[in-house]
Amino acid sequence: MKVSLFITCLSDAIYPRVGEAMVRLLAAHGVQLDFPPVQTCCGQPSYNSGYWEETRTAAKTILKAFESSDFVVSPSGSCTYMVHHYPELFKDDPHWLQLAHELEAKTYEFTQFLVQVLGITDVGAHFPYKVTYHPSCHGSRLLGVREEPMTLLSQVRGLELVPLPFAEDCCGFGGTFAVKMSDISGAMVSEKVDHIKETEAQVLVGLDMACLMNIAGNLRHRGEQVRVMHLAELLYEGVGVT
């Protein structure tokens, strides 16, 4: 059974600790991840900007990388959802379309994989902090990952989960949106951080490093001490497997 890690470019370059936490956490449950090194990026930056020809180039590396995998697991709901656009990109190309449909069916976001595939809701973690959760838009709204992270968090010993006001509101990242419309994006992330501060949480947890990078950047800019973590990191740290 080949379970492959789709690391995503952000976790590869900036947050390898997230991938490492996933690999070790899953290994502790007997899942040896495979890492096809030919993978690059899902192509979302070019897709969302309207450059679909360029997106096809990136998408092909992903389709090839995971052609022989039985399961693909990724630390991002957004990149996972991007795979769902692949059939649309290759609708006139039967070979790639076939691969696109296959990849769509076998790719899971990290918590989907834990809960739906492995049937794990309690990893035995202990994390005695006040935590708030930001549901990223693509993961929760488009991919439909809503229950899984809540289930996993509810099983963590010592963790106090405080609801985030207006949690479902976008953090303002939106890929190139944050660069092109930087002032609107800035207003959105500032408001998100205001709400995080209202919770008085020590830790902000989420499922998508792009959104978390955006929020963490604003927290640091404002000198706030809230720690920002991917749920995989939190769970891994909580089980203390080092």
């Binding site: 059974m1 470019c9 590869d12 370059a13 900036i14 390898p16 991938g19 490492e20 070790r24 290994a27 449950h29 007997g30 899942v31 040896q32 991840l33 890492f35 090194p37 030919v38 690059t40 192509g43 930056p45 969302n48 900007s49 309207g50 450059y51 020809e53 360029e54 990136a58 092909k60 590396t61 769902h84 449909h101 769509e104 069916a105 739906q116 595939v117 049937g119 709204r141 488009l142 991919l143 439909g144 509101d169 303002g172 939106g174 949106f177 944050a178 660069v179 092109k180 930087s182 002032d183 609107i184 207003a187 959105m188 992330v189 500032s190 408001e191 950047g217 604003n218 640091r220 800019h221």
Partner: protein, 507 residues
Amino acid sequence: MNPAQSTQGTVKERADVALNNDFLRNAVKFTTERLRSGKQAAATEHGNWEEWRERGRQIRLHTIAHLDYYLNTFVENARKNGVHVHFAPDTAAATDIVMTIARHKQAESVVKSKSMVSEELHINRALELAGIETIESDLGEYIIQLAGEGPSHIVIPAIHKNRYQIAELLSEDAGEELPPDTTILAGYVRRKLREKFLGADIGMTGCNFAIAETGSMVLFENEGNARMVTTLPKTQITLMGMERIIPSWEDLEVMATLLPRSATGQRLTMYMSGITGPKRTADGDGPEEMHIIIVDNGRSEQLGDPEFQELLNCIRCGACLNVCPVYRHIGGHSYGGTYSGPIGAVLTPALNRNVAEWDDIANASSLCGACYEACPVKIPLHDMLVYLRRRKVERGHGNRWESLGMKGFAVLMANSKRLALALKMGRIAQKPVVHDKGITIKMGPLKGWNTYRVAPSMADHSFREHWQELSEETRRTAPPMDAQTRDRMEQILRQRRASGITGGQHE
């Protein structure tokens, strides 16, 4: 015209005006929050919201797919009821029809109820140029008319103004100081409008739904002004977008369930009027003559376009505006067109067919999908925004630097070795500007980002560089997979094979 609603400049420039206007941002936040929580509560109370959303979507899909048939049925029936029906392919034609009727009636004044189509056509301007007094009778519309602005929200046109600003405008109108008390302000407008209703030669309305089976038109409103507009003046002109049709009164039940709840969280608006033709002999009131002008103005261009036809399903409830995190910060005038928010960002370019000029609005979205989730007929606006961006690129209107950047992106992403090398080079290049794993310089693409954030530095080693070591470590330490987990996974694989490739979500 207020500079904030000018169509000049870019959406970014217009948004900057709004972002620096705290009155506007607070007013918009206050009301959109109230509306969206109201909608949420109404949907929850309804109990079967998702099912009714799907019913609504199916009705709209069906109607638009057979729009020619239902339009014909509607027109035939409306004519049988004694209505004069006109078709207007564009703004000029619609204006012409209105002006011809007004001249024929020797009209000196027109009183209007709220109509987005009339805003789209800028009909007030045309009437006033001809010396015909034109009065908006919806409170919000009356306010923005005094301010010389267009609507900044589909349902709440003056959403960007607080009561102090409104008191100021109305005081000027009244020629006396009115206190910022909503009851007193509304009382003033009510008194003033009574005279206008009684004296108007023409009543002009929009149309929420046109019922094909009886040739009737339906209006939803809360102030009773539309009822005045459709009963007091001797002539009624109704402007309707050609897609306002639904087949039957039975379908209206679904729409009447979805529209008020989605718009304001109400189970039903205070007034819902169904109008079937002009005054009949036995009727106590109503117009003696009734005209319906069916406006195309770019709508038929969407028919048969697989990516945009669903735009015509919109029932103009404004729910997508109320949940949009971008709209919330920049208000409606930043969108530069009659329609604002996510629906405006797609509808305006689509109706204008001018991709080069209009599609910068499509960039004013983080593609979060809140609009789609809120839409009572499930229009995939977040996808349409991407299609607009793609069409601009395909037609060669893309930004040159962005286009070059994307070509570079494709070159890197085509080959993981190139990507790995680029990561290495990036790590070296970032050294002079990294402090404590953060980058604060405000240059190039980091200028906007770092105005609000500290950018993270690239990690000391990428994941792929560490993979070999990590893989060996887990191979040494990890337990074997237990039989139960293996069974689960194998079962999923079997199910996947058995069901063929569905391409759906994992359940």
